[in-house]
Every structure is written in structure tokens, then in C-alpha cells.
């Protein structure tokens, strides 16, 4: 798309002030999808969790109590990292080539965390009592991994929202007169107590926020979330110290893949090829190839440990795993995507954003598949012998309600992007204002290099 004599800022702000027909069509489709999800949820709420879904009690009933919902929860938590981690890394490690996608990535984090929490609510037998977890939190944080998750997810969401808000303040202040007036209340909240001279301090606050967020990634997706499973001695399919590292790698893989898909859609929709350049996709594809390989490497560990001289109950779980088609679909998806990623790195002519987006989508879905498999396999052969063999083996396949709700969360994220894209600029304006030759990230207009140096003595100055 040509510049048409407009500045980069004009083009980034255009979605906020005008809307195309395509936008409304997309909005309508996503709204319809969301309504379908709400209908399915209504059905589940009225009918009761175990009546309207395929979930059941393990043991005598031969059911699986945690399934697609919990898998989706873990998946969304993982995806949430991709966004904010990229953005934070841009700030902390000065990876400025990724600056143009930082804002989209931050918004993805907020939406994905929301969907993670929603997935948990889907899985509850009595979601109306969800607030009990907060009321009881001071007493359960001593011992319940689920209470830890609530704490860390809330913390992560608060940090991300604060990060997003702080990074918007200068920008919104600068362009407020060009923003839709009817959204003023939102901008007023973002600009509470704003003073132009705060920029330098805000930049320093943001840097430390980014550090904290980066440090929290392994503690959330490689910590409290895998600990939900890895600490449960009753389920040998879950128990173990490797759950943390392997889940962290899987999470980062799906996160990176989801970011690629998201920015590709934005670039396509708004014609931002000149801000979000191919080079960004090429760089992301390298990271993605490495992460996918690491994920496959963990799969090999998993299978080999369970296939060689494994204890009976672990062997049974592995034998079931490799006998389920879904496992091989996940492995094939990851393998095929990995082969493409390597091929396009070796032969640049094979690269195209479209192909990369497809490969990334395959990876993201494969990881979701794998997360669900991890949870369900363990519960199909729960506990340890002799009870494992005395109880009937579990059976589980999600029904339409579960599919609707989980696919619905993806639709809601799409809807969220479409709506938020009308409220805040999705690319940081400094990035597109700097002549588009030296994209810079995050530095407020009032901050010059020398003051930034004073703020962050440890870091290299641009």
C-alpha cells in the first residue's frame, strides 16, 4: 500500500477514526461467534457441567474430570507470554527491530490472560462461586497450587495492564485531539494525573516493569501452571520435575506462533507492510524453528522415558499416548511445521508470510492438542496400580459445548482485537514517525538520549 501522502502516524490512527465495510463485516462475524459461545455457555450453566459436556468422574465412572477447558487454560496462559515477553524484551534487550509489533503483542497478552481465566471458569462445577477463591485466598495460598495460579495470573494481568497504560500515556496525550471524542472517558482514565515531564520517570518505570514481567514468564508458564500438575503425586502421568521446563518451552512455542498469526492478520488487514516488514517475520521464524525443535525434543524425552524400562503405570500412559491418533496429529503438525521453517531458512525463496502464518497456526493448534493430551492421558490411566487397572480406563472426547466454548475464546480474542484496535493505536507512533528508517521503541517524545542514559545507566544507549 502506498503512503498516499500520509504520514505513518496518520495511517496508524486511521482505524481509530474511520471504519471500512470489511471492518463491520468482521465485527459482525466475530460477534456472531461470540454469541454462539455465550449460547453454549448458557446451555452448560443451565444443564450442569457433567450433563452437558463429556467430562466425568474418574474411578468407577471411567470419566475424565479435566479436559479441553483445562487444556485451553494452559494454552492461553502460554500464549499470553508471547505478547508481553516480546514487548518487554524489546525494552530490556533493545531488540528494536521488533518494536513495531510490541503494542499488538501487549494487547494479545491481556486478551489471552482473560481467556485463560475464562477457561477455568468454564471448567467449574459451580462457576457462580468463583469469588470464593478470592475470599479464601489468604488461607489457601499456603497449600493450594490453584490459589498460587490465581495470584500469579492476577499479578501478571495487573503488570501487563499497567505496562500497557504507562506506555500509552505520552502517546495518547500527544494525539488526543485526533482521537474519537466519544471514547474520552477511556482516555481520561489512561491520562489520570498526566504531566508531560513525567515521561523520563515513566520510561524508567516501564523498564523495570519489563524486567519483572520477563522474570515472571518462567515462574508462571514454567512454574505455577505446570505445578498444578507436576506436584500431584496421585497422577503419575503428570508428576515430575520436567513438567515445568517442557511446559515452558511448549508455551513459548505456541506464544511465538500465535504472535506471528496475529501480526500477519493485522498487517494484511491494514496494509502495514512497511511498518511490519518481512524481516520481522523472518526473525520470528528463526525463533519459532528453534522453539519447535525444543518442543519435539521434549516429546522424545517423554516417549522414551515411558517406553523403555518404565514402571508399569508410566508405561501404560505412554503406550496409550502413542496409540492415540491425536498424539500423532500433534507430532506431525509440529514436525511438518518445523521442516517448513528450516527449509525457508535455508532457501529464502520458500519464505512467504502467508506460508509462515499457516505453519504458525499449525504449531499453535498442535500445542493446544498436546496440552489437552497431556491432561487427558494422565486422567485416562489415573492413580497407580492396583487401582489403575481395577478401575475402568477413562474415556474422553469433547462434545459440541466444549468445542464451542474453547473455539469461542479464540473468537473473543479476535473480537477484542477488533474493538481495541478502534480505541488505541496498535503500533507505537514513534516507530512509524521516525522516518521509518530507524524504528525506535517506546521512547517518549520528550526524552532525549542523554536523559535516557541517566535513567538506565546499565543499559546501552541507542
Amino acid at each position: 500500500m502506498s503512503l498516499d501522502g500520509k504520514t505513518g502516524a496518520d495511517r496508524v490512527l486511521q482505524p481509530l477514526t474511520s471504519a471500512t465495510k470489511g471492518h463491520f463485516v468482521l465485527l459482525a462475524l466475530l460477534a456472531l461467534g461470540t454469541l454462539w459461545m455465550l449460547f453454549a455457555w448458557f446451555v452448560q450453566l443451565r444443564g450442569g457441567l457433567m450433563h452437558t459436556t463429556s467430562l466425568g468422574d474418574w474411578g468407577v465412572s471411567g470419566g475424565v474430570p479435566w479436559g479441553l477447558y483445562i487444556g485451553a487454560f494452559v494454552w492461553w496462559i502460554g500464549i499470553a507470554h508471547g505478547g508481553i515477553a516480546i514487548s518487554a524484551a524489546v525494552r530490556v534487550f533493545k531488540l528494536e527491530r521488533f518494536a513495531p509489533i510490541a503494542r499488538i503483542a501487549e494487547v494479545l497478552t491481556v486478551l489471552a490472560l482473560g481467556m485463560a481465566a475464562t477457561s477455568i471458569v468454564f471448567s467449574l462445577g459451580r462457576p457462580d462461586r468463583i469469588f470464593n477463591t478470592i475470599v479464601q485466598w489468604p488461607f489457601t495460598v499456603h497449600h493450594s497450587p490453584l490459589a498460587w495460579d490465581i495470584a500469579v495470573i492476577t499479578l501478571y494481568l495487573v503488570l501487563t495492564l499497567t505496562y500497557l497504560t504507562l506506555s500509552l500515556r505520552d502517546e495518547i496525550y500527544e494525539i488526543r485531539d485526533r482521537l474519537p471524542y466519544w471514547l474520552d472517558p477511556i482516555y481520561a482514565v489512561i491520562l489520570i494525573g498526566y504531566r508531560p515531564e513525567e515521561s523520563e520517570k515513566v520510561e524508567q518505570l516501564l523498564w523495570w516493569l519489563a524486567v519483572a514481567i520477563l522474570a515472571l514468564v518462567p515462574l508462571l508458564s514454567g512454574g505455577v501452571v505446570p505445578w498444578l500438575f507436576g506436584l500431584i503425586a496421585a497422577q503419575p502421568g503428570w508428576f515430575g520435575a520436567a513438567a515445568g521446563p517442557s511446559m515452558l518451552i511448549e508455551s513459548l512455542t505456541s506464544a511465538m506462533a500465535f504472535v506471528v498469526v496475529t501480526i500477519a492478520i493485522f498487517r494484511f488487514a491494514y496494509g502495514w507492510e512497511d511498518f511490519i516488514r518481512d524481516a520481522i517475520f523472518r526473525d520470528l521464524s528463526k525463533v519459532l524453528a528453534l522453539l519447535t525443535l525444543a518442543t519435539l525434543w521434549f516429546v522424545v524425552h517423554d516417549v522414551l522415558t515411558g517406553a523403555y524400562l518404565a514402571p508399569h503405570h508410566v508405561g501404560d500412559i505412554t503406550a496409550t499416548m502413542v496409540s492415540l491418533p491425536f498424539f500423532w496429529i500433534a507430532v506431525l503438525g509440529l514436525g511438518a511445521a518445523f521442516i517448513y521453517l528450516v527449509a525457508q531458512l535455508l532457501r529464502p525463496s520458500l519464505f512467504s508470510v502467508g506460508r509462515l502464518t499457516i505453519a504458525s497456526a499449525v504449531i499453535a493448534i498442535s500445542i493446544l492438542n498436546k496440552k489437552v493430551m497431556f491432561i487427558v492421558e494422565g486422567l485416562m490411566h489415573p492413580s497407580i496400580p492396583p487401582l489403575t487397572n481395577l478401575y475402568p480406563a477413562g474415556f474422553y472426547f469433547p462434545n459440541w459445548v466444549e468445542w464451542s466454548l474453547v473455539l469461542g475464546t479464540i473468537v473473543v480474542v479476535g473480537l477484542g482485537f477488533v474493538v481495541i484496535g478502534k480505541i488505541i493505536p496498535m503500533v507505537e507512533l514513534e516507530v512509524v514517525d521516525d522516518d521509518e528508517t530507524t524504528p525506535r521503541m517506546g521512547d517518549p517524545p520528550l526524552t532525549d538520549d542523554s536523559s535516557e542514559d541517566a535513567t538506565r545507566p546499565d543499559t546501552e544507549v541507542n
Partner: protein
């Protein structure tokens, strides 16, 4: 009860929150030393926390309206 597995406090307040402590220290010690903006940011954090908690309460309330037969 729970005499042996009381490690939650350590996990959350000793390990997981470490980056947050460091962040607060960085905010307070790092230059420029300007506490108004720090207070404002902490205010945002508290505000978002309240928003999330209140949102959860409202979610529960709305769901209870739907589920009550």
C-alpha cells in the same frame, strides 16, 4: 492440618514475587527519583487489581443469576 505442605507462602512471596520486589526497588531507587509517578503507577496497579477482583465478583453474580433455576 496441612502441617507438611505449607510451602505456598514461600513459593508465592519468596520466589514468584521476587521480580516484583526488585521492580519496586528499582522504581524507588532508580533515577530520576520522582515519587509522584511511582505513586501514580502503584495506584494504577491497585486499581487494576480491584477491577479484576470486582470483575470476578460480578462474573460470579451474573452466572448465579443464570444458574439459579
Amino acid at each position: 492440618m496441612h502441617t507438611t505442605t505449607h510451602i505456598g507462602l514461600l513459593v508465592i512471596f519468596g520466589v514468584v514475587l521476587l521480580p516484583v520486589y526488585v521492580m519496586f526497588a528499582g522504581w524507588l531507587v532508580g533515577r530520576p527519583r520522582e515519587y509522584r509517578t511511582v505513586a501514580l503507577t502503584v495506584g494504577y496497579m491497585i486499581g487494576f487489581t480491584v477491577l479484576i477482583v470486582a470483575g470476578l465478583a460480578v462474573t460470579g453474580l451474573v452466572i448465579s443469576l443464570i444458574t439459579t433455576v
